[in-house]
């Protein structure tokens, strides 16, 4: 049985696509056959983050409308051979993602893949609802900032009322909190909500904390899922999150500010 995971947030720009790219790459790296689907029709970006933008021939909407087969549209990742990308359409209307069409594609993917990761668009409109509808699990990406936390709570309400699991009275969607752009220094100075604050407000289990890091931008500049930057703090934090998603018990890291030594203070201006 394939596990269907939606990466969602409500708010835009919090790191959904970065997270989708890294989580799917991490699952595939561990040998699970994984597909990541871009649901952001009209504003596709997963292809750029995964460095396959020049290999897109057919897309999700082409498959729904019968203009291409699923195999024609799936792009095989060049770095991890159990990873596939299904790009969004850049030219169609959002409504081209019909509930029946999406269901057909997901069911077909579920026959051969272990994991289906759905990269949701921002907002709570059609595209976002389509992305979360089939989910068994949800990774709610949140920044430690008021509007993001509020929107995350809103999307949790939607998962609990409008998902397939909710509508059919099945077990609820399993929710995970992924806190990204976390800056321990600012938390220590009382300028930023802490992990504990956000956990307390949203009251869902914590999957991981991704520290705010220059590496994330560097990686996206190059079309490299940040989890493949194995030496970096953000890359390792994503790797921990994938391990936890697979049931491993890993301690949370990068939660505290690193104390700067005397010399780095002297020469880097504190």
């Amino acid at each position: 049985m394939a596990r269907i995971i939606v990466v969602t947030s409500g708010k835009g720009g919090v790191g959904k696509t970065t997270t989708s790219a890294s989580i799917s790459t991490g699952l595939a790296k561990r040998g699970h056959k994984t597909v990541v689907i871009d649901f952001d029709v009209g504003l596709r970006n997963l292809d750029l983050i995964m460095n396959c933008e020049r290999r897109v021939v057919y897309d999700f909407v082409n498959v729904i409308q019968g203009e291409a087969t699923l195999n024609q549209a799936l792009i095989k990742d060049k770095r991890v051979d159990t990873l596939f990308i299904l790009p969004a359409s850049q030219t169609r209307e959002k409504e081209a993602l019909t509930p029946e069409g999406v269901e057909k594609v997901i069911n077909q993917l579920a026959e051969t893949f272990d994991y289906i990761v759905c990269d949701s668009p921002a907002g709570i409109e059609h595209g976002a609802l389509m992305a979360l509808y089939h989910a068994d699990e949800a990774i709610v990406v949140t920044n430690p900032e008021v509007s993001s936390v509020r929107d995350s709570d809103r999307i949790l309400g939607i998962l609990q009322s409008k998902s397939r699991r909710a509508e059919n009275g099945l077990d609820p969607v399993k929710e995970h909190l992924l806190l990204s752009r976390y800056n321990p220094q600012r938390v220590e100075r009382g300028e930023m909500l802490s992990v504990q604050d956000v956990e307390e407000i949203l009251a869902i289990p914590l999957l991981g904390v991704i520290p705010e890091s220059q590496v994330v931008l560097n990686a996206s500049n190059q079309g490299m899922p940040v989890i493949l930057e194995e030496q970096s703090d953000a890359g390792q934090a994503y790797d921990d999150a994938v391990a936890r998603l697979l049931g491993e018990d890993r301690e949370h890291r990068f939660l505290n500010a690193q104390k700067k030594g005397f010399f780095s203070r002297m020469f880097k201006g504190g």
């Binding site: 900032e145 008021v146 936390v149 509020r150 709570d153 809103r154 309400g157 009322s161 938390v187 100075r189 009382g190 300028e191 930023m192 909500l193 802490s194 604050d197 307390e200 407000i201 949203l202």
Partner: protein, 83 residues
């Protein structure tokens, strides 16, 4: 206020202000989410009925549903104008 207090006094950290504001708004929005869909229409129709007898404004009727484990209570608050 002594001279030293100037250095000691600290404003409330903004993160705790954020947390407090979030706790309030999130609790409020969750409360609304749990309300049944028909509530706004029920409130509107109640207003119309009451207006047949007494002139009241929109905000003078409050309708809420409180859910306990075993039963739900429809709470209706009507403020009548002073004569």
């Amino acid at each position: 206020m002594s001279f030293l207090d100037y250095f000691r006094s600290k404003k409330t950290p903004s993160a705790s202000v954020a947390k407090e504001r979030l706790q309030i708004i999130v609790a409020h929005e969750r409360g609304q989410r749990a309300q049944p869909d028909y509530l706004p229409q029920l409130q509107q129709e109640l207003l119309e009925v009451i207006r047949k007898y007494v002139q009241i404004s929109d905000d003078m009727v409050q309708v809420e549903v409180d859910r306990n484990d075993s039963c739900s209570v429809l709470e209706l608050n009507v403020t009548l104008p002073e004569k």
